[in-house]
Amino acid sequence: MQDTIIKTLRRFRKEKADYTNLIFFFAAFIVFIVFIIRPSLNEAFARAKRLSDLQTLEGQYEQSIAQIINYQTQMQDVNSNLFLLDEAMPRQPNINKLLADIRSAAASNNIILNRTDVGQINLVREAQARTETNAISVAIEAQASYANFQAFQKELYQQRRLKKITTLTITKAGGAIASQSSGLKIQMEIEGYYL
């Protein structure tokens, strides 16, 4: 009986000692995790993520730089042709050039210009308005045969300066009893564009 009690007491003491060891082990491990393992692992994971992000960013930068170089190459090709755009749609109204184009087309196609009216132009414009396309309107009253008018229209559209015939009225020049040779009375409005 005494032996049994002694054995039980020893086992109880041993169990108590084991619990104490476990408690100290866990407590020490918690401290170890909080103050040593966690900061180190945290830094390692953050650096790995940063490296991955930087590699992705590097790829984006390289792609962007390649794109810019590509645009520069294209711009070099296009640069020599930019005067064409400037002539097609100048920054100023250039009414004299527009009228010269119309007169030239009329002269080369035997069109008699009876009247030419230039519409209003706003010469004072704000800088931001230059992003939009502006138009000058030129009203023309002319006399010609239909074939000549067709040739005139074709030549007008073949000119480099962009133009559009917005309104067109064709009537017989001498009224209802006019002959073939008297031709047609043509009234039209031509818009010339500028920036």
């Binding site: 108590k16 476990l22 491990f29 966690r38 945290n42 994971f45 930087l54 042709n81 064409l84």
Partner: protein
């Protein structure tokens, strides 16, 4: 509170700390680490239609 209860409490704290550690690592591995680096500005797509130039060149 006997030692067994203390042990359960310590194990509970230990598990909580492990969970906190794991969540902290997941956060570190997924959060943006490049806040101080400027983001790449994307260049707008620019295309030049060379047919326009060819067409204009043919006009007078």
């Amino acid at each position: 509170m006997n030692r067994k209860e203390v042990l359960f409490a310590v194990v509970g704290i230990f598990m909580t700390v492990i969970a906190w550690l794991v969540s902290d690592l997941i956060h570190a591995a997924t959060s943006n680490q490049l806040e101080d680096i400027p983001v790449v500005q994307t260049v707008e797509q620019v295309t030049f239609n060379k047919d326009v130039f060819n067409d204009l060149r043919g006009r007078n």
